[in-house]
Subunit: 444 residues, 2 copies
């Protein structure tokens, strides 16, 4: 381990590794060091639910590179089990906890891509062997092993966001009963209400016990099961997954002078922070929102990759501004795709827009073609001129591409009366003449 | 049958019926007459290959409405087996061949939506019971019956456009051998060469005998089989399908003073022709191309529906300009989707663009997710500023939505360096972090 690197990266996942790729492309000679507090780098966290259920065969399949391979590929030092615990921007150095004690490592330029661990609930004892999170490969392995070894039958999940839902599907596929506790009145509240309702109806179909407006007040491990109290009721489960969101991993930066908002690092469109030579991106940082025209905290895997690339480019001599995100998301829940892009109704109203809404339910393929199903698209438009601000859809899995088309339209500021006449793909095995997106736009 | 209608429509399919819907919406009292030369209206011609093979159970499933039902629904007179054989625009009347002889029908406003039958080859005797076209429901039924009754085993197809390919798939599914004669050097020449090659390789996989650069010079029915001569070779088949394109059904308008280009009716962006009170749309007419900024002949089902709607709106008091097409198309060939949108390389060059091309092959889902396959996207950009002029893709069936996203981007004039950073849907069951579209754009 060197004491000094031209480029030092903290965190060897989506953002950090994307930065390394760009730096090495632009600067063949520079020394690059990568600090990773765990022993696993570059893994597909979004694939964890599918590895637990076994539909992805091995957790190893989720890991794109091991440390040594990535180090060799990018001619960089990948320092596993090295955790950044403090920074001194004046002396351009990072304090690092290593297996052999603490060290100082100095840098020319620094990229912080430490990501975001799961939010922890204060009343939960995470040292109980029956309480789990789902963020890392070890988290996933632990859940799978626990279920297999203990023959777990009853799962509880706190949080009906998309990670909670994906885990619920996984648990049902593995034969466990599932109860989901959600403090709000519906799952995935960014979705339009109709789509949340569709999720609730799918939960019923799959015997998932959904408990909206259920604030969990106590979680107790009695040595053989987990007891969960919500309201006046206490019920017992074999395991609990807490999936109530994530928080930026920026504790080690407190007091450093780095500008943050609610713990997330503020970056400009070049990935630069307020401190000279220090860049950031990914789940530990804000991202510029194209419609809101300001940085927002919206941690998503594809954003992390792009922000990492941007930071790497600009750290190593390029000058490329990140155009910004529109917040496109998609998730699978059993046989349905749920997608959203742009502003939700709530977000649009909060941003001061007067809005108009329109939605349409249409066949996914020509109505007569085998496997034709229903797709629903909901649009949120600027009332002033019909500009598309956001869209959401649900339908069979192979209809998810409509959210990509909607994302393109939101990105480009398309208006409803343009969209209503656009020629999207039509052929009976794929789509009807008027798909749900143009049909919704025609009503807008 | 009345002798006069406020609105007279010639042709009761996509364009004509779409016009009727809009006219009735805007004008509750007007009299509407619809002349249809066959006995079948409003059918999904694109579904014919799937009804022949039986994957769509019945040809009746392709028919959205029968004449009386549509007439009742729209309060119009649907006149089946009534063929327009001449027009007199001065007296605002149409000469109609009916089962009871010829009549004159006069109109206030006229909409011509006669569509486009298959092009006929001069050296082929279409009265042979072994020669087929694939454009109408009776065409489809005739092919299916012929195969079933005669135990046909050997099919020849002239033309490797998408209808020829869809029919080839159908014939292979029904157990027939298939030979395709194509005068050009590759199938579907609007596609980039690499995609044509992929089709050729699929043909091999499915034992389809593809004969590029094969000009058929003679077709002879010897009473028990069809003999096809191309070059020096003559070979025998049980049936022949001719699928070499379509031509506008406008013969009855010759000499009428209606402006046409190569037989296709010239319409403005309101669906109006050069003759006062006469509108048109669909496969018998040109359509305004958004990129080329001029009318082109590009007969496609979804365009027909839109142009019909536009004509109907503007005939009945609205003033809505058709924004134009970009020529989006998709077709299925066995387990692959082929899509294209905007200008092909050739079209872009002919339009005077200096172009830049880029393509990328990427996983269709996260690489580790079950069923992940390969998707290729090819982009054609304006060299000057990277504006996306056209895109093509192929991949597994559920990846077709990328062509809708590309269509949205072409429609909106997006530039490669914007597209490269757009956030499209990412989740392992659907797409990788960098999909083929953004990956291709990033190279552009």
């Amino acid at each position: 381990m060197k004491q000094s690197y031209d480029y030092l990266i903290i965190g060897a996942d989506a953002a950090g590794n994307s930065a390394v790729g760009q730096i090495r492309r632009n600067d063949k000679e520079a020394t690059i060091g990568i600090l990773e507090k765990t022993s696993i780098i570059s893994y597909g966290a979004c694939g964890l639910p599918y590895a637990i259920s076994g539909s992805v065969k091995s957790f190893d399949d989720l890991i794109h590179f091991d440390g040594p391979t990535f180090g060799e590929k990018t001619k960089s030092d990948v320092l596993l089990n090295h955790e950044a615990v403090g920074v001194d921007f004046d002396s351009r150095s990072v304090r690092v906890k290593t297996p052999d004690g603490e060290k100082e490592v100095s840098y020319g330029k620094l990229m912080i891509g430490t990501g975001a661990p799961a939010i922890r609930l204060p009343f939960v004892d995470y040292s109980s062997g029956r309480v789990f999170e789902l963020k890392t490969v070890p988290d996933g392995r632990a859940i799978q092993e626990f279920i297999q070894k203990n023959g777990a039958k009853r799962a509880a999940i706190i949080g009906a966001g998309y990670i909670g839902l994906e885990a619920a599907e996984t648990f049902r596929e593995m034969g466990l009963s599932v109860a989901i506790y959600e403090a709000l009145d519906r799952p995935v509240p960014r979705l339009p209400e109709g789509l949340s309702k569709s999720i609730v109806s799918q939960m019923k179909d799959h015997d998932i016990d959904f408990r909206p407006e259920s604030k969990v007040s106590a979680v107790k491990d009695n040595g053989s099961e987990i007891q969960i109290t919500a309201g006046e009721k206490t019920e017992a489960y074999d395991l609990l997954l807490v999936a109530v969101g994530v928080r930026p991993a920026t504790g080690f930066l407190e007091g450093s002078g780095l500008e943050m908002q609610k713990g997330a690092i503020v970056v400009d469109r070049y990935g630069a922070t307020n401190v000279d030579g220090v860049y950031s991106g990914g789940d530990c940082a804000l991202a510029y929102h194209k419609l809101l025209k300001k940085p927002v905290y919206y941690p998503l895997g594809h954003t992390a990759n792009k922000q990492g690339r941007i930071a790497g480019m600009n750290m190593s001599g390029e000058k490329i501004a990140f155009p910004g995100i529109v917040g496109t998301q998609v998730f699978k829940f059993f046989d349905r795709a749920y997608g959203m892009t742009g502003l939700s109704k709530q977000e649009a109203l909060e941003a001061g827009y007067e809005i108009e809404e329109a939605s349409a339910m249409r066949p996914s393929r020509a109505g007569y073609y085998p496997g034709s199903d229903k797709v629903k698209v909901s649009l949120t438009m600027d009332k002033k001129d019909g500009t598309l601000l956001g869209a959401a859809m649900f339908g069979p899995l192979d209809s998810y591409g409509l959210i990509d088309a909607a994302s393109a339209l939101v990105n480009m500021g398309a208006k409803a009366d343009e969209i209503a006449w656009m020629d999207f793909a039509y052929a009976p095995p794929f789509a009807p003449v008027w798909n749900a997106l143009i049909s919704a736009a025609a009503k807008g």
